[in-house]
Amino acid sequence: MRLEVRDIHTYYGASHVLQGASLVVEPSEVVALLGRNGAGKTTMMRSIIGLTRPESGSIRLDGEELLGAPSYRPARLGLAFLPSGRRVFSSLSVEENLEVARRSCPRRSGPWNTERVYGLFPKLAQLRRRTAGHLSGGEQQMLKIGRALMTNPAMILLDEPTEGLSPAVVGELGEWLSMLARENLSILLAEQSATFAREHASRGYLLEKGTIRFEGSMDEIWASAELRSALGIAARDDGTTGA
């Protein structure tokens, strides 16, 4: 699945949040959307899904125009959105959450079902009757990924997945992401933590004040002292694999 966002302008009331931003995610590619808090990463995600409507521009998913389409359309086409924070159906059990996700896209078929999600996350199987609102942050993250998989997506939008997680859980999250990438899912990963994004993405976009300031490979971003300071990475922090 290929996603192409071209020159979108999105407003929140009077504030012009996205000012002509463009990006592309190729099939099976993992792409990072980097930028500081308030740069417009979440607005980009919400614009793509249609939860916040861009005023102009174009958003194409495998050629189909999403701009102006209802916000339930992307999921039905195979584009799953994982918002940041504790956004699970908190009064439903784990199993009911998964079942609602499956029924939300009844026409999508594929390898994923409850059994396979439980195989991937044995912890969720143990907690299947637990109310989702009572899960820990890491368990909710598992459930969010599980819910996305139940719709048999071809591409996943992940908004700030590491936010609020302990370092140990961030490590696990990294493993889950690698697994998703091995399944040939395309991923657009919005992250404030550039070091986390670097481990998983091959390419990145740097969003600043609503426009794309730079696009290129993660190595290129790391090589530039200027971009690193824009991302708030200390000069001596070389990430995990070295520059």
Partner: protein
């Protein structure tokens, strides 16, 4: 003992019909975050349609009329949702109140044109209009019909909301409508279904109570006030809370009528204030964050 039984039965029957109306209101509020003031109109239309459909006959036609009245009002709910309510979902509460209040008045006027301003009555079929004796008390059989209907509605809601994936979806819409929609659900269609079901429940209650009341303009207003009380005490969006609150309001009303008939309504509001002082978000509601 005999008087207690009579009062208890009457209270249960009042609470039962109140529960059916309020359950529809709370269902709509839960899934759509809209307080629908026209809910009282659906109740009144259920009752008026019942008087039209039953006419002067009695017997089997009575039961068919209840079903038909509920279905017709369900269709009316569909029109109201498509024509008005869907435009105010997610808008300011004040906008929603004004819009549904407007529908309330329009429906009241239309009702006046169709059925006039006189009171109408409906006779229950002979089979359920007698009384039976229990421990020296004469108890109306029809109270049992209303209580039975309320129990059935309660059971059906419990089954659907707790044990079917459609029900989980409605609860998911209460928890986080945005995530549900971005997960692939056409929220508007879900709202349409829920709103129609809510109208249907109001009409069902309105139709089923007709043998015990005089059907007249104004019943839309009194029922919406009482059912709002019930829904607020129970906790907006909670069906279990609604059942309990309907019982509390029913008991407060009965006790009030017995102790100080002129102050019966005060008793009811006193119960509301008492509950809200202890739990501002209602018995089974959740505090707004």
């Amino acid at each position: 003992m005999a008087q207690f039984l009579t009062e208890a039965m009457g209270t249960l029957s009042d609470a039962g019909s109140l529960f059916v109306v309020a359950a529809g209101l709370t269902l709509v509020f839960g899934a759509m975050r809209v307080i629908n003031l026209a809910h009282g109109s659906f109740y009144m239309y259920g009752a008026f349609l019942m008087t039209t459909f039953v006419g002067t006959s009695s017997g089997l036609r009575f039961w068919w009329s209840i079903l038909l009245a509920a279905l017709v009002v369900g269709a009316l709910g569909l029109v109201v949702q498509l024509g008005v309510v869907r435009f105010v979902v997610g808008k300011e509460p004040l906008t929603q109140l004004v819009a549904t209040f407007a529908v309330f008045y329009i429906l009241a006027d239309i009702g006046l044109h169709i059925w006039g301003d006189g009171a109408r009555t409906v006779m229950a079929p002979l089979a359920v209009s007698s009384s039976f004796t229990l421990a020296g008390a004469y108890l109306p059989v029809y109270d049992l019909v209303i209580i039975g209907c309320a129990v059935l509605v309660g059971l059906a809601l419990w089954l659907v909301l707790g044990h079917t994936s459609l029900g989980w979806m409605i609860r998911a819409a209460v928890d986080d409508p945005e995530i549900l929609q971005s997960g692939g659900v056409n929220l508007r269609r879900l709202h349409l279904g829920v709103f129609t079901a809510g109208a249907l429940l109001a009409a069902l209650a309105g139709a089923i109570v007709t043998p015990q009341i005089s059907v007249a303009p104004g019943m839309d207003q009194s029922i919406i006030v009482t059912s709002l009380l019930v829904v607020v005490i129970g906790g907006l969006g909670s069906v279990v809370g609604t059942a309990l609150a309907a019982l509390i309001i029913g008991i407060a009303d009965t006790v009030g009528t017995l102790v100080a008939p002129n102050w019966a309504a005060t008793f009811m509001y006193f119960a509301v204030i008492l509950v809200l002082v202890v739990r501002p978000w209602g018995l089974f509601g959740t505090p707004e964050r």
